[in-house]
Amino acid sequence: MIIEGKQKIWADYQKDIPDDHYFYVRSCIRQAFWPGSEVTFLDITRNKLGKDIYENPYHTTCGGIAYHSDTIPQETAMTIIARQFALMHESGYENYVCSCITSFGCYTETLETWHEYPELEAKIRQYLWDSCKKEFAKPKYLAHASDLIYKFRFDIAKQMKFPLVNVKTGKPLKCVEHIGCHYSKMFPSKGFGGAEYPHVLVGMIEAWGGEVVDYPERRHCCGFGFRQYFVQANRGYSESNTYKKFESMEPYEPDLIITNCPGCPYFLDRWQYVIAEQTGKTYGKNGYGIPALTYEEVAGLVMGYDPWDLGLQMHQVAIEPLLEKMGIPYDPKKKYQGVNGKDLGQPMCPSCIKSV
């Protein structure tokens, strides 16, 4: 591997991210999968980095899942997006930041389509007015939330308490970075580092002391793929994609996987359990899996947030070995306790992969 070659590409694929004042929109499924992540993101940006980040309570889904599942037409999806942009405009913001990669893809695609087909933009403007009586507006900047963390990765590093280093060996943790397909595969110029060698997560890993694992199936989709998952009979196809990635990364013995998409950490996490049940195989050491975390969770961990506050108990793959490696203190008793100390109930113990 010639790192200079990658650096050249990374330098070529940079984009402008404004320094402050962001309009934040959430992801539908992340709130269910990883509720701690978005909270942590807002906390880090607002309270640790001191940024102005606004969340409008009236914002909705971007329509992406319905759009990619062929259940709503493009115009409908675009009108939903136009409404989100209008909310931003009404709130006095022009830097649009979304939490979801699917959304990011939809927004990028929509903006590019409007750019190429102004008549479509005019049509949507009319639809927006007809349906919501809202003024059409486009954001000045569009960013994914991970772009922000990437931008401020060194500021976070300054506040870092637990770098991505194995405290026992002193060696950097081996981190697999997994980028959501819709981050830059559709529009390489819209993502940090482009489509082939994205830098957005690599930058975080490097800044926080980890070592990036570049394995042959790095580019491969996590296996979510919307329709492949939604139909139960097709789920084996989804699972097989994940399996392919794990088979490819296994020899590198990664310590964790960092992702920036709602679906990826979910599938990379849950399918490990399913693969273990079906084949008896686990990819971590001693019967554990490889933790697949969101970038916010990783940022939270290195900055010293309590693992259970970050919502790491939501992961099927036990997180404890990683915490031990990083030397992060945690209270095993509190794993399944809610914020008010209420018992959340433990998951049914899987027969193969270790959950504690």
Binding site: M1, I2, E4, G5, K6, K8, I9, G194, A195, E196, Y197, D214, Y215, P216, E217, R218, R219, P251, Y252
Partner: protein, 336 residues
């Protein structure tokens, strides 16, 4: 006094045009931006289809242009029409008056790093066809360490809208097979694969080369474009392609991947080209008057084109065009 003919470019087309123009009693002046004549072909080791040493051809051409006025390390910075023809300013301060201009500016090799998925410049064992020729000439390339499995990718930067080049680069197929055979000669134990979209063996003896490649050299030609290259734990290359004839995706590990870079228009001449009013054709190369009877004429009076500045061409094609441009220029001068 002999009429001056300004030839921009001292590669195969420029040298051959100068040779013929001199024989026709005109005074060709070659302006070459690099430090020596020969162009791309001088970087080549052997030529398809019969593995003829390129040096023999280049040396013969160099011998032929002895006595021709040659300016090396020189570029045309400005060119204007005047009553006598053209007035060209060179970057060494010199001004050349010429009756006609022959653009023999050749091509640029596609920059392989632009096809990011092939990882040129990122993975250690991905090299270009030109670098392989250098290895054949010098026997030295630290990336080539007794490879056991070698792959060739055709059409890198050609027939590909993703890099903006929709044309076929014409010579890469034959070059790939030639180089594949040569690799087998250097490394007889290696398995050599070529990944092609179509094998375009258009010239005399080329199809025989193809047959020889398959039969005598045991090179395996797989119809399918390599779509993805990665590195494995041992630093070997993992490639993915579809075997389209078999109808199944395919993956394999290679020790060396050679990218058959296509020809692209020489961009360094664009300013002068604009000054002369020569447009580009749809492939981005210089436009000639028409592709049948006016292939050496540009749409501008007194400006002629020869060789790969108008389209990808093989060496024999280029030499043929260079000879015909000499006749065109000669007729132009005599009819004036």
């Amino acid at each position: 006094m002999k009429e001056n003919i300004l030839i921009i470019g001292g590669g195969a087309a420029g040298m051959e045009a100068a040779t013929q123009l001199q024989k026709l009693g005109l005074n060709p002046i070659i302006v070459e931006k690099s430090e020596k004549l020969g162009g791309h072909i001088a970087q080549w080791d052997r030529l398809f289809p019969a593995f003829h040493p390129a040096k023999d051809v280049v040396d013969q051409m160099l011998d032929n242009v002895k006595g021709v006025d040659v300016r090396l390390n020189t570029q045309v910075t400005d060119i204007q029409r005047d009553n006598n023809g053209f007035k060209a300013n060179l970057n060494n301060g010199e001004i050349i008056d010429a009756k006609a201009v022959v653009l023999a500016t050749g091509f640029d090799l596609f920059k392989a790093e632009r096809k990011q998925e092939y990882g040129y410049g990122i993975y250690n064992n991905v090299i270009t066809s030109l670098e392989l020729e250098k290895f054949f000439r010098t026997g030295k390339d630290e990336r080539i360490n007794n490879p056991k499995k070698i792959g060739f990718v055709h059409c890198v930067g050609a027939r590909d809208v993703k890099v903006g080049n929709t044309y076929c680069s014409k010579v890469c197929c034959t070059t790939a097979l030639k180089q594949a055979c040569e690799m087998k000669e250097v490394f007889p134990d290696a398995e050599v694969y070529t990944f092609y979209m179509d094998l375009r063996m258009f010239g005399p003896g080329y199809e025989d080369l193809y047959l020889k490649t398959q039969k005598d050299y045991d090179v395996k030609c797989i119809r399918g474009r390599v779509c993805e290259v990665s590195e494995d734990m041992d630093g070997r290359l993992v490639i993915k392609a579809e075997d389209t004839l078999f109808g199944k995706p395919l993956r394999m590990t290679l020790d060396l991947l050679v990218l058959m870079c296509s020809m692209e228009k020489n961009k360094s001449i664009e300013a002068i080209q604009q000054k002369l009013g020569i447009a580009n054709n749809s492939d981005g190369f210089m436009q000639n008057k028409d592709m049948y009877l006016g292939m050496n004429d540009s749409k501008q009076d007194g400006v002629f084109v020869a060789g790969t500045c108008t389209a990808p061409k093989s060496l024999p094609d280029t030499i043929g065009e260079a000879r015909s441009v000499a006749v065109e220029v000669f007729n132009y001068i005599n009819n004036k």
